[in-house]
């Protein structure tokens, strides 16, 4: 077990609330979210649909703005952090541009951020190797499987070396076999790059397998019901999922979900 208590704080939420104004009146999407995420942590947000896990990730990314409380990213407001390009964001769908090759897609943020041509080529090569897609740079997205496309989108988020990686159910649309493999790869990648990762999922095994910290959330209004510090070692072979320790943590996640009436 690795202790992150003393680590430098990267993301800090204090009493964050978010109310959406909709045509049917106000909807409380987030209520009183307080959470601290330290450097190098792998934090999963788990909960049923409508629990605000994606919304919270989006507030960290400044794609939504809290209506209450304070939220800081790297000591800045989320908007400042976005402008400082503090994080890479991976969406549910790969969202690769069909008119660009894989390499062209990965270098998209680099073009926007004004990296030189040589630097772009070097970084594209490096991150494609990192996600095991070396040699696929000249292919177009439709020539790749769904899992490979999602890996390319992760490479795209890694290309500009932000220290935070926010992932919104990145493997949600993939089958379980591909998902297992990508989970293993993601852990390897996390170990290699020592990034801080925020990861939204609705799979209990995925959350337990990947995380150093699991944030259990429940809906109406979206709130945190439990925060679990994982006791699993950093090195995690796939068969760790059959260990008693793993099952105990999974059990606690399930308890947290039940406490939040997630199963009602």
């Amino acid at each position: 077990m690795k202790d992150f208590a003393g680590a430098q704080t990267v993301i800090e939420a204090k009493g964050v609330g978010l109310v959406f104004q909709t045509d049917d009146g106000p909807v409380q999407a987030l209520k009183d979210i307080s959470l601290t995420i330290g450097r190098g942590e792998f934090v999963s947000f788990i909960g049923p649909s409508g629990c605000g896990k994606t919304t919270f990730l989006r507030t960290i990314a400044a794609l939504e703005h809290p209506t209450e409380g304070t939220l800081t990213v790297n000591g800045m407001t989320p908007d400042q952090a976005r402008q400082a390009r503090a994080y890479g964001y991976v969406f549910q769908a790969a969202g690769l541009y069909p008119w660009r090759t894989i390499a062209g897609n990965v270098q998209l943020p680099l073009e926007i951020m004004g990296f030189s041509r040589a630097e772009r080529a070097e970084r594209v090569r490096r991150v494609l190797d990192l996600v095991d897609l070396g040699g696929f740079g000249k292919k177009f997205p439709w020539q790749l499987s769904g899992g490979m496309q999602q890996r390319a989108s992760i490479a795209r988020a890694l290309a500009f070396d932000a220290d935070i990686l926010l992932m919104d159910e990145p493997f949600g649309a993939l089958d379980e076999i591909v998902r297992d493999r990508l989970n293993e790869e993601l852990l390897r990648l996390w170990a290699a790059t020592s990034k801080t990762i925020g990861f939204v999922t609705h799979s209990i095994p995925e959350a337990v397998y990947l995380s150093t910290k699991i944030v259990v959330m429940s809906p109406r209004p979206g709130r945190i019901t439990d925060v679990i510090e994982s006791t699993l070692p950093r090195e995690r072979p796939l068969d760790i999922r059959d260990s008693a320790e793993f099952l105990a943590i999974a059990h606690r996640v399930r308890e947290g979900l039940r406490a939040g009436h997630a199963y009602d």
């Binding site: 794609l63 390009r85 994080y87 998209l108 926007i112």
Partner: protein, 298 residues
């Protein structure tokens, strides 16, 4: 090859119907002439006569084809005023008139497309423009072009602008609209996720436009261009109809109707239709090449 058979079937059906209609519509004239001359006519006489009148109500397909041949190849190669004899296109040939119409169409189309794209960029990026301009653009298309065309010609002629430009303006007036509507939709085609992605890179509006909105709009652009180029041709021909135009397919249609030359009218109509089909096909070929290169299959 598989696509040829259905097309030929339709063409054949049209030709059969056309011949039937020719006999039916022209028979009255044949019977009137016979009655005046006091002779009896049988069915075979009617058939022969209706298909070879000099000023039929409806010319037969072979008459139109013969006229097309006469007023293109024969006129230019063997005619006294043809390109072979004089070095310049004959003003009696459809090639000459087609070229006059085509050049105004292309100028108007280029102008209309440019205008449509620029307005679409403005509408997508400015809420005020979106609210204020779109109703006017729609209203502009509800005014009958036949009513506006003579005024445009007359007003521009009075300030000394004649020939190509007024026709091109009418063509542009008709062709900017499909491009505008298509490109507004095209520029708005990227979904929230793709826009959010660029937001996480802190991309500027210009960056978002060049890297996302513009490439996303390309399929919409070509769909609009196909409608727009046909509309530009219609606009040009309408612009040639008001008295004064002496050249162009529209002028040819008008002079044909002055002198009751139905065969000439139909030949000009067919030439215009062929021109329109050719232009749309050229846009289609470019579309396939561009989308193929962009990794999007048309």
């Amino acid at each position: 090859m598989k696509s040829v058979l259905p097309i030929l079937t339709v063409v054949l059906a049209i030709v059969v119907l056309w011949y039937g209609a020719t006999v039916g519509l022209n028979a009255q004239w044949t019977r009137d002439q016979a009655a005046r001359a006091g002779v009896e006519v049988g069915f075979s006489d009617i058939l022969r006569d209706t298909l070879s009148q000099t000023r039929p109500k409806l010319p037969a397909p072979h008459q139109v084809v013969a006229e097309l041949w006469q007023s293109t190849w024969m006129e230019e190669v063997y005619g006294r005023r043809g390109i072979v004899q004089t070095g310049s296109l004959s003003n009696r040939s459809l090639i000459y008139h087609g070229w006059v119409t085509l050049s105004a169409t292309m100028l108007g189309f280029a102008f209309g497309t440019g205008l449509g794209i620029l307005l679409a960029i403005g509408i997508v990026h400015s809420k005020a423009m979106d609210m204020s301009f779109m109703p006017w653009a729609i209203a502009s298309q509800t005014v009958p072009i036949l009513a506006i065309a003579p005024m445009v010609i007359v007003v521009l002629a009075s300030i000394g602008i004649k020939g190509l430009i007024p026709k091109a303006i009418i063509a542009a007036y008709l062709s900017f609209f499909p491009v505008l509507v298509g490109m507004v939709k095209g520029f708005r085609a990227p979904d929230t996720m793709q826009l959010d992605l660029l937001k996480t890179y802190n991309a500027s509006r210009a960056g978002t436009f060049w890297r996302l909105r513009l490439p996303s709009s390309v399929p919409y652009l070509f769909a609009s261009l196909k409608v727009g180029i046909a509309a530009a041709l219609v606009g040009t021909i309408v612009g040639e109809l008001p008295a004064g135009a002496s050249a162009g397919l529209g002028a040819r249609l008008l002079s044909g109707s002055y002198y009751g030359q139905t065969i000439q009218i139909w030949a000009a109509l067919l030439a215009a239709a062929t021109l329109a089909a050719g232009l749309v096909m050229i846009v289609g070929v470019i579309e396939r090449a561009v989308l193929g290169r962009m990794g999007m299959r048309a």
